[in-house]
Symmetry: D2
Subunit: 89 residues, 4 copies
């Protein structure tokens, strides 16, 4: 996922958040607001998956094939960390 694509998605998410602000200002029904918030969460998850996928295929390969074992350990730990946060483990 290229930088342009990431930005496009973030802009779309930002617009979605502003849409929810308008809903709240207009006194929209609670459940409809929650549904929109959940849709934004889903879009964020897809974006983070795309970024992780790129990360695995670039930085992680470089680090794991490199000579620096501390750097390799750092990159592997980060992947485990974002997995843990995603799973809320």
């Amino acid at each position: 996922m290229e930088r342009g694509e990431r930005l496009k998605r973030l802009k779309s998410i930002e617009g979605h958040v502003r849409g929810v602000e308008r809903m709240v200002e207009e006194g929209a029904y609670c459940i409809d607001v929650i549904r929109q918030i959940q849709a934004i969460e889903a879009a964020l998850k897809k974006l983070s998956l795309g970024i992780l996928n790129d990360h695995l295929h670039s930085c992680l390969i470089t680090a794991v094939q490199g000579e620096d074992s501390a750097e390799r350990e750092r990159v592997l730990s980060e992947v485990a960390e974002v997995y843990a946060a995603a799973a809320r483990a």
Copy 2:
């Protein structure tokens, strides 16, 4: 959670999304971007919980105490539905 508080949080989330856009534009490290996205998701979850809590203590009480059994069923189903979406059940 009052309307003002909901809006304040949404504005904060919107600002957070714009902050991530800047990070992406500046070529920030993938894992740092993912961490910020996960922080935004956490803020959205807290907001939806606050809204659901209000909903339970207002609309749901009214519907469950009311005479209209179809309306009661609708409101209870919606709570189950947002739970399912939150749990990704």
Copy 3:
């Protein structure tokens, strides 16, 4: 979801866990083990959704229509609490 159905699903989940134990004993591939663990989680989520749905249509209605405001508050708070746990809010 009747008690019999809940038990049936729990027995199935218990069998699934034992299947994963065998996989681990036999040195199965890590990713295959993780996939099975994620499948068990999905089955647990569906079960908890079924139980919550029943709860909303029985205990919650009774409590919300009842005279005891402390009991009503307790039941509504519990629903918010399990939603928060499901969402990891």
Copy 4:
């Protein structure tokens, strides 16, 4: 996380599931059952995180440092896949 530790945790989870079966047989309060189910899910998530961590530090390193680019791609895709399932992306 060694095989012995993985098995120990799975046995503990299996016992937890049987405990929930007893709760259901004895007609325990719905919310208490849901709380126990959520506790089992949390234990499963911690286990899958431990296994993923091991996987990153063994199979993934081997595959990424190896000559077989198809194998490398397969292993990286699997990590993205379990992340997606954990995030429900």
